[in-house]
Amino acid sequence: MTHSTHRRGFMAGAGALALATPSLAQGAAGRVVVIGGGFAGATVARAIKAMDARVAVTLVEPNATFTACPFSNEVIVGLRGIEAQQFGYDGVRKAGVEVIVDTASAVDAEACVVTLAGGARLAYDRLVIAPGVDIAWGALPGYTPEAAEIMPHAWKAGAQTLLLRAQLEAMEDGGVVVISAPANPYRCPPGPYERASLIAWYLKTRKPKSKLLLLDAKDAFSKQKLFQNAWKELYPNLEWVSLSSGGKVVSVDPAGLVLETEFGKHKANVANVIPPQRAGAIAAAAGVADRSGWCPMDPVTFESTLRKNIHVIGDAAIAGAMPKSAFAANAQAKACAAAIVALLNGRAPAEPLLLNTCYSVAAPEYGFSVAGVYRPAKGLLNEVAGSGGASPVDAPEATRALEARLANGWYNTITAEVFG
């Protein structure tokens, strides 16, 4: 009842709801509600307005300021300020999107209504769910929201990023930093390894008697050869412990700063627990998450295979070969927008062609990438054979430096498009 923008189908109460049913029949182009204002959600909202400005688009996001995860590893090691990660929604509003700062608490998929924590109800013709990830509390024994204040995950950028940075800064030289990396799938597959690299760089340059231990629940990971070459070359202070070497963390004890693996216990001075994750909570509440905790969707329309008229994009979605990256979220969002605009206008959606490019930096001026091209096949997004892949392992220093500059350029470009 605190808002009064009834014109866009933003209502409180059942009486108002009745007025708002099929807007399509009234000559308007339809109403789209987007839940989540990250790289996926903010992009799809703007892209729908770019493709058909008659569509009323409402974006619901709990935070008035977005804090981006890509490059937040550089914030942790002091190479960058947190403000370089933060964006408001003025640009999204100027694109004609109504932005509501609130939390979506429920979705009635039959009535096509979203309920917000503040009590407002939003009717939609098409709903896009793009909440990103939530930490799967309970999946790692001992790791609770309270434990995360002692052993930060820093896997959602913001206060957690700054907490981990403060802990590293406060650690005495000679300390041990322990990072635990989860099993697949999770947000940003190469992220734990970029983080390990940059923390090893920080220790090497600021606290040279210190060590970094990377405990991993996997035997293989994204850009593995590139990272391992960089570690061999730059970071004798970094030790990676794979799954088969006993790297899987099975429980944590925040009081003692201890991480327990199948093979033993590791005491940390700073512990960064990157825990198991799942789609943002609203996905399960809306009935679009399956037993895995993630959201199956149609690779042409991005419509949930579990609920009609609800589309899922970004990290929450099961996107086949596409990784959970900001680039992928942005690319999926634009393809999803095209499908939604087609559906609202009674046209058949076209088959999308999607790209992903994901840069990592192992040290300042030392970057590399993985790229991919994806098409729908057999209900998933498959990588096109013969395309994509990682940077050459034997690339010269100049190429690593160029890829580091391209990484920065990518960040400037995508954030300008999504939030500018």
Binding site: R46, A47, K94, A335, P352, W410
Partner: protein, 97 residues
Amino acid sequence: MRFSALAALIAALAIPGFARAADAPAGALSCSGCHPGAAGVDTPAVRLVGLPATDIESAMRAYKSGARAATIMDRIAKGLGDDEIAAIAAWYASQPK
């Protein structure tokens, strides 16, 4: 009349540089993850908006064949068909600068 003019204006601004987003061929809107639609973005990646279609197309074909040295575009170009490359090039060329 006034409404459609306003709608067109909003559409032109909703993603900077992409006045004709509705007509984008498959794949074209993925490129702007790295290649900025708006002018003035600090990046080594070239802005494709308004470039001649033949320039974009010949560069992509050369990346695809390996004739042109690349850091990343060879890996991407190999996943695109020649007809898709031509359509993407023509669409970028048609965007007002």
